[in-house]
Amino acid sequence: MSAFLSIRNLSLVLKGGPRLLRSVSLDVEAGEVRGLVGESGAGKSMIGKAVLGILPRSVEVVEGEIWLDEVDLLKLRPSERRRKIGATAALIPQDPLTALNPSRRVGPQVTDRLVDILGWKRADAQARALELLAEVHIPDPARVMRSYPHELSGGMRQRVLIASAFAAEPKLIVADEPTTALDVTVQKQILHLIARMQARHGTALLFVTHDLGVVSKVCGSLAVLYGGLVVEQSPVRDFFRQPAHAYSRALLAATPKYTDPMAGLNPVPEAVITAVQAEVAQADASWRNGGWRHD
Protein backbone atom coordinates (compact mmCIF):
# COMPACT_ATOMS: atom_id res chain seq x y z
CA MET A 1 0.00 0.00 0.00
CA SER A 2 1.70 3.17 -1.16
CA ALA A 3 -0.81 5.74 0.11
CA PHE A 4 -0.24 7.01 3.60
CA LEU A 5 -3.96 7.04 4.28
CA SER A 6 -6.09 4.56 2.47
CA ILE A 7 -9.79 4.30 3.15
CA ARG A 8 -11.33 1.18 1.63
CA ASN A 9 -15.07 0.69 1.21
CA LEU A 10 -15.94 2.53 4.37
CA SER A 11 -19.61 2.52 5.31
CA LEU A 12 -21.00 4.25 8.37
CA VAL A 13 -24.55 4.09 9.62
CA LEU A 14 -26.46 6.10 12.11
CA LYS A 15 -27.42 3.37 14.60
CA GLY A 16 -30.75 2.00 13.43
CA GLY A 17 -30.80 4.51 10.60
CA PRO A 18 -29.50 5.23 7.10
CA ARG A 19 -25.94 5.01 5.83
CA LEU A 20 -23.98 8.22 6.30
CA LEU A 21 -21.00 7.09 4.24
CA ARG A 22 -21.61 4.76 1.32
CA SER A 23 -18.64 2.47 0.67
CA VAL A 24 -16.19 5.35 0.50
CA SER A 25 -12.74 4.64 -0.89
CA LEU A 26 -10.16 7.38 -0.73
CA ASP A 27 -6.36 7.49 -0.82
CA VAL A 28 -4.14 10.26 0.42
CA GLU A 29 -0.53 9.92 -0.67
CA ALA A 30 2.28 11.01 1.59
CA GLY A 31 2.76 14.77 1.36
CA GLU A 32 -0.30 15.29 -0.79
CA VAL A 33 -3.08 17.83 -0.21
CA ARG A 34 -6.43 16.22 -0.81
CA GLY A 35 -9.56 18.37 -0.90
CA LEU A 36 -12.89 17.01 0.23
CA VAL A 37 -15.86 18.96 -1.09
CA GLY A 38 -19.60 18.55 -1.15
CA GLU A 39 -22.70 20.24 0.14
CA SER A 40 -23.56 20.48 3.81
CA GLY A 41 -24.40 17.07 5.26
CA ALA A 42 -22.60 15.17 2.49
CA GLY A 43 -20.41 13.38 5.04
CA LYS A 44 -17.13 15.28 4.66
CA SER A 45 -16.61 15.69 8.37
CA MET A 46 -17.60 12.07 8.99
CA ILE A 47 -14.66 10.91 6.88
CA GLY A 48 -12.30 13.07 8.91
CA LYS A 49 -13.80 11.89 12.16
CA ALA A 50 -13.54 8.25 11.14
CA VAL A 51 -9.86 8.69 10.32
CA LEU A 52 -9.18 10.42 13.64
CA GLY A 53 -11.21 7.96 15.69
CA ILE A 54 -13.68 10.53 16.95
CA LEU A 55 -16.94 9.32 15.44
CA PRO A 56 -20.00 10.15 17.53
CA ARG A 57 -21.28 7.28 19.67
CA SER A 58 -24.46 7.16 17.62
CA VAL A 59 -22.50 6.32 14.47
CA GLU A 60 -21.28 2.83 13.68
CA VAL A 61 -18.77 1.47 11.16
CA VAL A 62 -20.45 -1.37 9.31
CA GLU A 63 -17.80 -2.20 6.73
CA GLY A 64 -14.47 -1.10 5.42
CA GLU A 65 -10.86 -0.50 6.32
CA ILE A 66 -8.93 2.61 7.26
CA TRP A 67 -5.24 2.07 6.58
CA LEU A 68 -3.09 4.68 8.25
CA ASP A 69 0.65 4.24 7.91
CA GLU A 70 0.37 0.55 6.97
CA VAL A 71 -2.07 -0.46 9.72
CA ASP A 72 -5.80 -0.92 9.55
CA LEU A 73 -7.09 1.30 12.35
CA LEU A 74 -10.35 -0.58 12.56
CA LYS A 75 -8.51 -3.79 13.46
CA LEU A 76 -6.65 -2.25 16.39
CA ARG A 77 -7.81 -2.32 19.98
CA PRO A 78 -9.23 1.09 20.99
CA SER A 79 -6.24 2.07 23.14
CA GLU A 80 -3.77 1.09 20.40
CA ARG A 81 -5.83 2.91 17.81
CA ARG A 82 -5.82 6.10 19.86
CA ARG A 83 -2.06 5.98 20.27
CA LYS A 84 -1.50 5.24 16.59
CA ILE A 85 -3.68 8.16 15.59
CA GLY A 86 -2.15 10.48 18.18
CA ALA A 87 1.35 9.61 16.99
CA THR A 88 0.79 9.85 13.22
CA ALA A 89 -2.12 12.20 12.61
CA ALA A 90 -3.51 15.50 13.87
CA LEU A 91 -6.54 17.72 13.54
CA ILE A 92 -6.83 21.40 12.72
CA PRO A 93 -10.32 22.07 14.00
CA GLN A 94 -12.98 24.30 12.56
CA ASP A 95 -13.62 26.68 15.44
CA PRO A 96 -10.57 27.98 17.28
CA LEU A 97 -12.79 29.60 19.90
CA THR A 98 -14.05 26.27 21.21
CA ALA A 99 -11.11 24.01 20.42
CA LEU A 100 -8.88 25.20 23.24
CA ASN A 101 -9.66 24.29 26.82
CA PRO A 102 -10.59 27.57 28.57
CA SER A 103 -9.22 26.50 31.94
CA ARG A 104 -5.81 25.29 30.78
CA ARG A 105 -2.89 27.44 29.74
CA VAL A 106 -1.99 27.42 26.07
CA GLY A 107 1.50 25.96 26.50
CA PRO A 108 0.49 22.61 27.99
CA GLN A 109 -2.20 22.27 25.34
CA VAL A 110 0.51 22.42 22.69
CA THR A 111 3.02 20.19 24.46
CA ASP A 112 0.77 17.59 26.10
CA ARG A 113 0.78 15.15 23.20
CA LEU A 114 4.56 15.32 22.87
CA VAL A 115 5.07 14.55 26.54
CA ASP A 116 2.24 12.15 27.38
CA ILE A 117 1.78 10.23 24.14
CA LEU A 118 5.17 10.45 22.43
CA GLY A 119 7.27 10.39 25.60
CA TRP A 120 9.33 13.53 25.00
CA LYS A 121 11.14 15.25 27.83
CA ARG A 122 9.18 18.23 29.09
CA ALA A 123 11.96 20.68 28.28
CA ASP A 124 12.27 19.39 24.72
CA ALA A 125 8.54 19.65 24.20
CA GLN A 126 8.63 23.17 25.55
CA ALA A 127 11.41 24.17 23.16
CA ARG A 128 9.60 22.52 20.27
CA ALA A 129 6.37 24.38 21.07
CA LEU A 130 8.20 27.72 21.20
CA GLU A 131 9.81 26.98 17.86
CA LEU A 132 6.47 26.07 16.25
CA LEU A 133 4.68 29.09 17.68
CA ALA A 134 7.37 31.30 16.20
CA GLU A 135 7.02 29.46 12.90
CA VAL A 136 3.30 30.32 12.71
CA HIS A 137 4.22 33.98 13.35
CA ILE A 138 3.03 34.32 16.90
CA PRO A 139 4.77 37.28 18.49
CA ASP A 140 6.29 36.63 21.90
CA PRO A 141 5.65 32.86 21.97
CA ALA A 142 6.85 32.51 25.56
CA ARG A 143 4.15 34.84 26.79
CA VAL A 144 1.49 33.14 24.68
CA MET A 145 2.44 29.77 26.15
CA ARG A 146 1.66 31.16 29.58
CA SER A 147 -1.67 32.72 28.53
CA TYR A 148 -5.15 31.34 28.77
CA PRO A 149 -7.11 30.95 25.52
CA HIS A 150 -9.50 33.81 26.30
CA GLU A 151 -6.55 36.20 26.26
CA LEU A 152 -5.90 35.49 22.57
CA SER A 153 -7.82 36.55 19.46
CA GLY A 154 -9.52 34.02 17.21
CA GLY A 155 -6.81 34.23 14.56
CA MET A 156 -4.15 33.84 17.22
CA ARG A 157 -5.87 30.78 18.65
CA GLN A 158 -6.08 29.21 15.21
CA ARG A 159 -2.33 29.78 14.83
CA VAL A 160 -1.79 28.06 18.15
CA LEU A 161 -3.89 25.11 16.99
CA ILE A 162 -1.96 24.90 13.73
CA ALA A 163 1.32 24.94 15.62
CA SER A 164 -0.04 22.27 17.92
CA ALA A 165 -1.11 20.10 14.98
CA PHE A 166 2.34 20.28 13.37
CA ALA A 167 4.33 20.01 16.61
CA ALA A 168 4.62 16.22 16.61
CA GLU A 169 5.47 16.13 12.87
CA PRO A 170 2.43 14.02 12.00
CA LYS A 171 2.33 12.39 8.57
CA LEU A 172 -1.30 13.35 8.09
CA ILE A 173 -3.33 16.36 9.13
CA VAL A 174 -7.08 16.62 8.82
CA ALA A 175 -8.25 20.21 8.48
CA ASP A 176 -12.02 20.48 8.77
CA GLU A 177 -13.04 23.87 7.36
CA PRO A 178 -10.23 25.51 9.31
CA THR A 179 -11.14 29.05 8.31
CA THR A 180 -14.94 29.22 8.23
CA ALA A 181 -15.25 30.34 11.85
CA LEU A 182 -12.75 33.14 11.38
CA ASP A 183 -13.04 36.77 10.45
CA VAL A 184 -12.93 37.24 6.68
CA THR A 185 -9.81 39.36 7.05
CA VAL A 186 -7.85 36.58 8.75
CA GLN A 187 -9.23 33.69 6.68
CA LYS A 188 -6.75 34.28 3.87
CA GLN A 189 -3.77 34.59 6.20
CA ILE A 190 -4.64 31.34 7.96
CA LEU A 191 -5.15 29.57 4.65
CA HIS A 192 -1.75 30.73 3.42
CA LEU A 193 -0.23 29.70 6.71
CA ILE A 194 -1.63 26.17 6.50
CA ALA A 195 -0.46 25.83 2.90
CA ARG A 196 3.01 27.08 3.78
CA MET A 197 3.32 24.84 6.83
CA GLN A 198 2.14 21.85 4.80
CA ALA A 199 4.71 22.48 2.11
CA ARG A 200 7.54 23.01 4.56
CA HIS A 201 6.80 19.95 6.66
CA GLY A 202 5.72 17.71 3.79
CA THR A 203 2.63 16.62 5.67
CA ALA A 204 -0.26 14.96 3.89
CA LEU A 205 -3.37 17.08 4.30
CA LEU A 206 -7.00 16.09 4.11
CA PHE A 207 -8.69 19.42 3.56
CA VAL A 208 -12.44 19.57 4.14
CA THR A 209 -14.13 22.60 2.61
CA HIS A 210 -17.19 23.99 0.89
CA ASP A 211 -15.13 26.30 -1.19
CA LEU A 212 -13.89 25.16 -4.59
CA GLY A 213 -11.96 28.39 -4.88
CA VAL A 214 -9.88 27.35 -1.89
CA VAL A 215 -9.44 23.87 -3.35
CA SER A 216 -8.06 25.29 -6.56
CA LYS A 217 -5.43 27.16 -4.58
CA VAL A 218 -4.31 24.65 -1.93
CA CYS A 219 -5.14 21.16 -3.08
CA GLY A 220 -3.42 18.77 -5.46
CA SER A 221 -6.42 16.56 -5.91
CA LEU A 222 -9.96 16.37 -4.63
CA ALA A 223 -12.89 14.11 -3.93
CA VAL A 224 -16.47 15.23 -4.45
CA LEU A 225 -19.04 13.83 -2.06
CA TYR A 226 -22.79 13.65 -2.38
CA GLY A 227 -24.96 11.92 0.20
CA GLY A 228 -22.02 9.97 1.59
CA LEU A 229 -21.06 8.75 -1.87
CA VAL A 230 -17.82 9.73 -3.58
CA VAL A 231 -19.00 10.79 -7.04
CA GLU A 232 -15.65 11.89 -8.39
CA GLN A 233 -11.95 11.90 -7.55
CA SER A 234 -9.55 13.85 -9.74
CA PRO A 235 -6.37 15.82 -9.72
CA VAL A 236 -7.30 19.46 -9.24
CA ARG A 237 -5.93 20.49 -12.66
CA ASP A 238 -8.15 17.99 -14.48
CA PHE A 239 -11.15 18.77 -12.32
CA PHE A 240 -11.20 22.46 -13.05
CA ARG A 241 -10.51 21.90 -16.76
CA GLN A 242 -13.06 19.15 -17.19
CA PRO A 243 -15.05 17.71 -14.29
CA ALA A 244 -15.96 14.08 -14.94
CA HIS A 245 -19.28 13.91 -13.12
CA ALA A 246 -22.40 15.92 -13.93
CA TYR A 247 -22.78 16.84 -10.27
CA SER A 248 -19.22 18.15 -10.16
CA ARG A 249 -19.85 20.25 -13.22
CA ALA A 250 -22.97 21.73 -11.60
CA LEU A 251 -21.05 22.34 -8.39
CA LEU A 252 -18.32 24.12 -10.29
CA ALA A 253 -20.90 26.22 -12.12
CA ALA A 254 -22.48 27.12 -8.78
CA THR A 255 -19.20 28.43 -7.39
CA PRO A 256 -18.58 32.16 -7.60
CA LYS A 257 -15.72 32.93 -9.95
CA TYR A 258 -12.52 34.16 -8.41
CA THR A 259 -12.30 36.96 -10.94
CA ASP A 260 -15.95 37.98 -10.79
CA PRO A 261 -17.66 36.86 -7.61
CA MET A 262 -21.15 37.90 -8.70
CA ALA A 263 -21.14 36.18 -12.07
CA GLY A 264 -22.30 32.65 -12.79
CA LEU A 265 -24.07 31.83 -9.54
CA ASN A 266 -26.14 28.97 -10.89
CA PRO A 267 -27.80 26.67 -8.36
CA VAL A 268 -27.36 22.95 -9.02
CA PRO A 269 -30.18 22.03 -11.47
CA GLU A 270 -33.01 19.73 -10.37
CA ALA A 271 -32.19 17.18 -13.03
CA VAL A 272 -28.63 16.81 -11.78
CA ILE A 273 -29.82 16.33 -8.20
CA THR A 274 -32.33 13.70 -9.28
CA ALA A 275 -29.65 11.86 -11.20
CA VAL A 276 -27.13 11.83 -8.38
CA GLN A 277 -29.82 10.77 -5.91
CA ALA A 278 -30.66 7.87 -8.17
CA GLU A 279 -27.00 6.96 -8.09
CA VAL A 280 -27.06 6.95 -4.29
CA ALA A 281 -30.15 4.74 -4.24
CA GLN A 282 -28.49 2.41 -6.76
CA ALA A 283 -25.43 2.17 -4.54
CA ASP A 284 -27.58 1.28 -1.54
CA ALA A 285 -29.49 -1.35 -3.49
CA SER A 286 -26.41 -3.16 -4.71
CA TRP A 287 -24.88 -2.86 -1.26
CA ARG A 288 -27.83 -4.63 0.33
CA ASN A 289 -27.82 -7.29 -2.37
CA GLY A 290 -24.16 -7.74 -1.72
CA GLY A 291 -25.20 -9.22 1.59
CA TRP A 292 -23.93 -6.59 4.00
CA ARG A 293 -27.30 -6.05 5.53
CA HIS A 294 -30.61 -7.81 5.37
CA ASP A 295 -33.35 -5.49 6.49
Binding site: L52, L91, P93, P102, S103, R104, Q109, D112, D116, H150
Partner: protein, 335 residues
Protein backbone atom coordinates in the same frame (compact mmCIF):
# COMPACT_ATOMS: atom_id res chain seq x y z
CA UNK B 1 -9.76 43.11 41.70
CA UNK B 2 -10.57 40.28 44.09
CA UNK B 3 -10.00 42.68 46.98
CA UNK B 4 -12.59 45.10 45.61
CA UNK B 5 -15.12 42.29 45.25
CA UNK B 6 -14.34 41.22 48.79
CA UNK B 7 -14.90 44.70 50.20
CA UNK B 8 -18.19 45.26 48.42
CA UNK B 9 -19.34 41.82 49.56
CA UNK B 10 -18.43 42.67 53.13
CA UNK B 11 -20.53 45.81 52.96
CA UNK B 12 -23.61 43.97 51.70
CA UNK B 13 -23.00 41.27 54.28
CA UNK B 14 -23.13 43.81 57.06
CA UNK B 15 -26.45 45.16 55.83
CA UNK B 16 -27.82 41.61 55.56
CA UNK B 17 -26.78 40.80 59.10
CA UNK B 18 -28.44 43.96 60.42
CA UNK B 19 -31.65 43.00 58.65
CA UNK B 20 -31.52 39.47 60.01
CA UNK B 21 -30.95 40.74 63.52
CA UNK B 22 -33.98 43.05 63.34
CA UNK B 23 -36.25 40.31 62.05
CA UNK B 24 -35.12 37.81 64.67
CA UNK B 25 -35.30 40.35 67.42
CA UNK B 26 -38.85 41.33 66.65
CA UNK B 27 -40.12 37.84 65.83
CA UNK B 28 -39.01 36.18 69.03
CA UNK B 29 -40.56 39.00 71.04
CA UNK B 30 -43.98 38.90 69.41
CA UNK B 31 -44.48 35.12 69.41
CA UNK B 32 -46.20 33.84 72.55
CA UNK B 33 -44.14 32.57 75.49
CA UNK B 34 -42.76 34.43 78.46
CA UNK B 35 -39.12 33.81 79.32
CA UNK B 36 -39.44 35.37 82.77
CA UNK B 37 -42.38 33.24 83.77
CA UNK B 38 -40.34 30.16 82.89
CA UNK B 39 -37.49 31.21 85.16
CA UNK B 40 -39.50 31.75 88.30
CA UNK B 41 -40.92 29.11 90.60
CA UNK B 42 -44.71 28.93 90.81
CA UNK B 43 -46.08 31.41 93.34
CA UNK B 44 -43.71 34.29 92.50
CA UNK B 45 -45.28 37.69 93.10
CA UNK B 46 -46.02 40.34 90.49
CA UNK B 47 -43.26 42.41 92.02
CA UNK B 48 -40.72 39.59 91.52
CA UNK B 49 -41.71 39.28 87.91
CA UNK B 50 -41.46 43.03 87.30
CA UNK B 51 -38.03 43.15 88.92
CA UNK B 52 -36.70 40.40 86.66
CA UNK B 53 -38.29 41.95 83.57
CA UNK B 54 -36.53 45.18 84.35
CA UNK B 55 -33.25 43.35 84.95
CA UNK B 56 -33.34 41.84 81.43
CA UNK B 57 -34.73 45.04 79.93
CA UNK B 58 -38.00 43.43 78.81
CA UNK B 59 -39.97 46.34 80.29
CA UNK B 60 -38.79 48.70 77.57
CA UNK B 61 -40.13 49.02 74.03
CA UNK B 62 -38.84 46.57 71.42
CA UNK B 63 -37.07 49.40 69.60
CA UNK B 64 -35.27 50.49 72.75
CA UNK B 65 -34.36 46.90 73.54
CA UNK B 66 -32.97 46.47 70.05
CA UNK B 67 -30.68 49.47 70.22
CA UNK B 68 -29.45 48.52 73.68
CA UNK B 69 -28.70 45.06 72.32
CA UNK B 70 -27.05 46.46 69.17
CA UNK B 71 -24.89 48.81 71.23
CA UNK B 72 -23.76 45.80 73.26
CA UNK B 73 -23.02 43.80 70.11
CA UNK B 74 -20.85 46.60 68.75
CA UNK B 75 -18.82 46.31 71.92
CA UNK B 76 -18.66 42.51 71.61
CA UNK B 77 -21.36 41.83 74.20
CA UNK B 78 -24.23 39.66 72.96
CA UNK B 79 -25.99 39.67 76.32
CA UNK B 80 -26.44 36.99 78.93
CA UNK B 81 -28.28 33.72 78.55
CA UNK B 82 -31.39 33.71 80.69
CA UNK B 83 -31.18 29.97 81.26
CA UNK B 84 -27.52 29.52 82.16
CA UNK B 85 -26.67 33.12 83.18
CA UNK B 86 -23.50 32.98 81.08
CA UNK B 87 -22.42 35.36 78.33
CA UNK B 88 -24.11 34.38 75.05
CA UNK B 89 -20.93 34.91 73.06
CA UNK B 90 -18.98 32.40 75.12
CA UNK B 91 -21.74 29.78 75.03
CA UNK B 92 -22.12 30.10 71.29
CA UNK B 93 -18.43 30.09 70.49
CA UNK B 94 -17.93 27.01 72.65
CA UNK B 95 -20.47 25.10 70.58
CA UNK B 96 -19.48 26.46 67.17
CA UNK B 97 -16.51 24.08 66.60
CA UNK B 98 -18.72 21.01 67.09
CA UNK B 99 -21.14 22.18 64.40
CA UNK B 100 -18.39 23.33 62.07
CA UNK B 101 -16.63 19.98 62.27
CA UNK B 102 -19.87 18.13 61.65
CA UNK B 103 -20.79 20.30 58.65
CA UNK B 104 -17.37 20.12 57.09
CA UNK B 105 -17.18 16.37 57.55
CA UNK B 106 -20.60 16.11 55.91
CA UNK B 107 -19.41 18.31 53.05
CA UNK B 108 -16.31 16.19 52.50
CA UNK B 109 -18.37 13.00 52.49
CA UNK B 110 -20.84 14.57 50.05
CA UNK B 111 -18.11 15.77 47.68
CA UNK B 112 -16.33 12.41 47.73
CA UNK B 113 -19.47 10.33 47.16
CA UNK B 114 -21.10 12.80 44.76
CA UNK B 115 -17.89 13.36 42.79
CA UNK B 116 -17.22 9.65 42.53
CA UNK B 117 -20.75 8.94 41.30
CA UNK B 118 -20.61 11.79 38.78
CA UNK B 119 -17.26 10.64 37.35
CA UNK B 120 -18.33 7.00 37.26
CA UNK B 121 -21.65 7.90 35.66
CA UNK B 122 -19.89 9.97 33.01
CA UNK B 123 -17.32 7.26 32.33
CA UNK B 124 -20.09 4.68 31.93
CA UNK B 125 -22.66 6.96 30.31
CA UNK B 126 -25.37 5.20 28.40
CA UNK B 127 -24.91 1.98 30.37
CA UNK B 128 -27.01 0.41 33.11
CA UNK B 129 -24.58 1.66 35.72
CA UNK B 130 -25.42 5.24 34.79
CA UNK B 131 -29.10 4.40 35.08
CA UNK B 132 -28.50 2.89 38.51
CA UNK B 133 -26.63 6.02 39.62
CA UNK B 134 -29.48 8.23 38.43
CA UNK B 135 -32.06 6.16 40.25
CA UNK B 136 -30.01 6.05 43.43
CA UNK B 137 -29.41 9.77 43.55
CA UNK B 138 -33.04 10.45 42.74
CA UNK B 139 -34.02 8.33 45.72
CA UNK B 140 -31.41 9.92 47.96
CA UNK B 141 -32.81 13.33 47.11
CA UNK B 142 -36.44 12.50 47.73
CA UNK B 143 -35.78 11.71 51.40
CA UNK B 144 -34.80 14.57 53.74
CA UNK B 145 -31.67 14.39 55.87
CA UNK B 146 -33.34 13.74 59.23
CA UNK B 147 -35.16 10.70 57.82
CA UNK B 148 -31.80 9.43 56.57
CA UNK B 149 -30.66 9.99 60.16
CA UNK B 150 -33.44 7.75 61.46
CA UNK B 151 -32.71 5.11 58.83
CA UNK B 152 -29.01 5.15 59.73
CA UNK B 153 -29.78 4.89 63.45
CA UNK B 154 -31.94 1.85 62.78
CA UNK B 155 -29.36 0.22 60.53
CA UNK B 156 -26.04 0.96 62.22
CA UNK B 157 -27.17 1.80 65.72
CA UNK B 158 -29.79 -0.85 66.36
CA UNK B 159 -29.73 -3.69 63.83
CA UNK B 160 -25.98 -3.79 63.41
CA UNK B 161 -24.56 -1.52 66.07
CA UNK B 162 -21.20 -0.42 64.71
CA UNK B 163 -21.46 3.32 65.34
CA UNK B 164 -22.41 5.40 68.36
CA UNK B 165 -25.82 6.95 67.94
CA UNK B 166 -25.58 9.64 70.56
CA UNK B 167 -23.23 12.43 71.57
CA UNK B 168 -20.08 13.88 70.09
CA UNK B 169 -17.54 11.83 72.00
CA UNK B 170 -17.45 9.25 74.79
CA UNK B 171 -17.87 11.40 77.94
CA UNK B 172 -14.72 10.19 79.72
CA UNK B 173 -12.57 11.49 76.83
CA UNK B 174 -13.81 15.08 76.89
CA UNK B 175 -11.10 16.19 79.32
CA UNK B 176 -8.37 15.14 76.86
CA UNK B 177 -8.86 18.26 74.75
CA UNK B 178 -7.60 21.80 75.14
CA UNK B 179 -9.69 23.30 72.31
CA UNK B 180 -13.23 22.60 71.19
CA UNK B 181 -12.09 21.57 67.73
CA UNK B 182 -11.92 17.96 68.89
CA UNK B 183 -11.54 16.35 65.48
CA UNK B 184 -8.97 18.83 64.26
CA UNK B 185 -7.03 18.63 67.51
CA UNK B 186 -6.99 14.83 67.52
CA UNK B 187 -5.43 14.88 64.06
CA UNK B 188 -2.87 17.54 64.88
CA UNK B 189 -1.82 15.74 68.04
CA UNK B 190 -1.82 12.41 66.21
CA UNK B 191 -4.17 10.97 68.83
CA UNK B 192 -5.86 8.47 66.60
CA UNK B 193 -7.55 6.75 69.51
CA UNK B 194 -9.50 9.96 70.12
CA UNK B 195 -9.99 10.43 66.41
CA UNK B 196 -11.58 7.00 66.08
CA UNK B 197 -13.96 7.67 68.97
CA UNK B 198 -14.95 11.04 67.46
CA UNK B 199 -15.50 9.65 63.99
CA UNK B 200 -17.58 6.75 65.24
CA UNK B 201 -19.84 9.37 66.84
CA UNK B 202 -19.85 11.83 63.96
CA UNK B 203 -20.03 9.51 61.03
CA UNK B 204 -23.75 8.81 61.04
CA UNK B 205 -25.01 12.36 61.56
CA UNK B 206 -22.50 13.57 58.97
CA UNK B 207 -23.59 10.89 56.51
CA UNK B 208 -27.25 11.73 57.05
CA UNK B 209 -26.49 15.38 56.25
CA UNK B 210 -24.28 14.39 53.32
CA UNK B 211 -26.61 12.02 51.46
CA UNK B 212 -28.93 14.62 49.88
CA UNK B 213 -26.00 16.90 49.02
CA UNK B 214 -24.07 13.98 47.53
CA UNK B 215 -27.07 13.25 45.34
CA UNK B 216 -27.24 16.84 44.16
CA UNK B 217 -23.53 16.94 43.39
CA UNK B 218 -23.73 13.65 41.54
CA UNK B 219 -26.63 14.78 39.36
CA UNK B 220 -25.37 18.27 38.66
CA UNK B 221 -21.75 17.42 38.06
CA UNK B 222 -22.60 14.46 35.85
CA UNK B 223 -24.95 16.58 33.77
CA UNK B 224 -22.33 19.26 33.42
CA UNK B 225 -19.57 16.74 32.63
CA UNK B 226 -21.67 15.08 29.94
CA UNK B 227 -22.32 18.43 28.29
CA UNK B 228 -18.64 19.28 28.43
CA UNK B 229 -17.69 15.94 26.87
CA UNK B 230 -19.20 17.08 23.57
CA UNK B 231 -17.10 20.21 23.33
CA UNK B 232 -14.43 20.64 20.70
CA UNK B 233 -11.46 20.77 23.02
CA UNK B 234 -12.40 17.39 24.45
CA UNK B 235 -12.62 15.93 20.95
CA UNK B 236 -9.30 17.51 20.02
CA UNK B 237 -7.73 15.93 23.08
CA UNK B 238 -8.99 12.51 21.98
CA UNK B 239 -7.28 12.91 18.60
CA UNK B 240 -4.03 13.45 20.45
CA UNK B 241 -4.24 9.89 21.73
CA UNK B 242 -5.80 10.38 25.14
CA UNK B 243 -8.26 7.90 26.56
CA UNK B 244 -11.59 8.37 28.22
CA UNK B 245 -10.37 8.67 31.83
CA UNK B 246 -7.77 11.29 31.03
CA UNK B 247 -10.19 13.27 28.92
CA UNK B 248 -12.87 13.29 31.61
CA UNK B 249 -10.57 14.25 34.44
CA UNK B 250 -8.17 16.67 32.82
CA UNK B 251 -10.21 18.28 30.06
CA UNK B 252 -13.83 18.11 31.16
CA UNK B 253 -13.74 18.18 34.96
CA UNK B 254 -12.06 21.58 35.54
CA UNK B 255 -14.70 23.26 33.41
CA UNK B 256 -17.64 21.17 34.58
CA UNK B 257 -16.87 21.92 38.22
CA UNK B 258 -17.57 25.65 37.87
CA UNK B 259 -21.35 25.60 37.40
CA UNK B 260 -21.64 22.93 40.09
CA UNK B 261 -19.62 24.91 42.58
CA UNK B 262 -22.08 27.78 42.96
CA UNK B 263 -24.98 25.49 43.63
CA UNK B 264 -23.01 23.37 46.06
CA UNK B 265 -22.27 26.56 48.00
CA UNK B 266 -25.97 27.30 48.35
CA UNK B 267 -26.74 23.70 49.22
CA UNK B 268 -24.01 23.69 51.83
CA UNK B 269 -25.74 26.50 53.69
CA UNK B 270 -28.91 24.36 53.66
CA UNK B 271 -26.81 21.56 55.07
CA UNK B 272 -25.64 23.78 57.91
CA UNK B 273 -29.30 24.59 58.57
CA UNK B 274 -29.98 20.86 58.61
CA UNK B 275 -27.58 20.37 61.52
CA UNK B 276 -30.21 21.80 63.86
CA UNK B 277 -32.45 18.76 63.60
CA UNK B 278 -29.71 16.22 62.96
CA UNK B 279 -27.81 17.31 66.06
CA UNK B 280 -30.99 16.92 68.08
CA UNK B 281 -31.58 13.48 66.62
CA UNK B 282 -28.08 12.30 67.49
CA UNK B 283 -27.81 14.28 70.76
CA UNK B 284 -24.74 15.91 69.25
CA UNK B 285 -23.61 18.85 71.39
CA UNK B 286 -23.47 21.53 68.74
CA UNK B 287 -25.05 24.88 68.03
CA UNK B 288 -28.20 23.40 66.55
CA UNK B 289 -28.97 21.34 69.59
CA UNK B 290 -28.36 24.39 71.74
CA UNK B 291 -30.69 26.42 69.51
CA UNK B 292 -33.56 24.03 70.12
CA UNK B 293 -33.01 24.17 73.87
CA UNK B 294 -32.89 27.94 73.71
CA UNK B 295 -36.21 28.06 71.86
CA UNK B 296 -37.85 25.66 74.32
CA UNK B 297 -36.67 27.83 77.21
CA UNK B 298 -37.51 31.11 75.44
CA UNK B 299 -33.91 32.14 76.09
CA UNK B 300 -34.20 35.22 73.90
CA UNK B 301 -30.60 36.53 74.09
CA UNK B 302 -29.24 33.08 73.30
CA UNK B 303 -31.61 32.58 70.34
CA UNK B 304 -30.52 35.95 68.95
CA UNK B 305 -26.87 35.06 69.33
CA UNK B 306 -27.24 31.67 67.64
CA UNK B 307 -29.27 33.01 64.72
CA UNK B 308 -26.77 35.79 64.11
CA UNK B 309 -23.94 33.28 64.17
CA UNK B 310 -25.74 31.04 61.67
CA UNK B 311 -26.29 34.07 59.44
CA UNK B 312 -22.60 34.92 59.67
CA UNK B 313 -21.73 31.31 58.79
CA UNK B 314 -23.97 31.37 55.73
CA UNK B 315 -22.50 34.58 54.40
CA UNK B 316 -18.97 33.36 55.02
CA UNK B 317 -19.73 30.20 53.04
CA UNK B 318 -21.17 32.24 50.17
CA UNK B 319 -18.23 34.57 50.21
CA UNK B 320 -15.83 31.65 50.18
CA UNK B 321 -17.60 30.02 47.23
CA UNK B 322 -17.50 33.31 45.35
CA UNK B 323 -13.79 33.65 45.87
CA UNK B 324 -13.16 30.01 44.98
CA UNK B 325 -15.09 30.49 41.77
CA UNK B 326 -12.99 33.50 40.89
CA UNK B 327 -9.80 31.62 41.62
CA UNK B 328 -10.79 28.53 39.61
CA UNK B 329 -12.08 30.43 36.61
CA UNK B 330 -9.17 31.88 34.63
CA UNK B 331 -11.49 34.31 32.87
CA UNK B 332 -12.27 36.02 36.18
CA UNK B 333 -8.79 35.62 37.62
CA UNK B 334 -7.25 37.90 35.04
CA UNK B 335 -10.17 40.12 34.25
Amino acid sequence: MILRRLLSRLATTLVTLLGVSVIVFVTIRVVPGNPIAMMLPPGATEADIDRLRALYGFDRSIMEQYFIWLWGVVQGDFGTSIQSRQPVLRLVLNRLPATLELSIMALVIAVVIGGFLALTGTRLRGTRTEGAIDVTSGMALSVPDFLWGLVLILLFGVLWPVFHISGRISPQLTSEFTTNFFLFESVVRLRFDLWRDLVSHMFMPALALAIPLAAIISQLLKQSLKETMHLDYVTLSRTKGYGENHVIIREALPNAVLPTLTLVGVQFTFLIGGTVIIERLFSYEGLGNMAIDAVINRDLPLIQGIVILFAVLFTVVNLFVDMLYAVLNPRLRHA
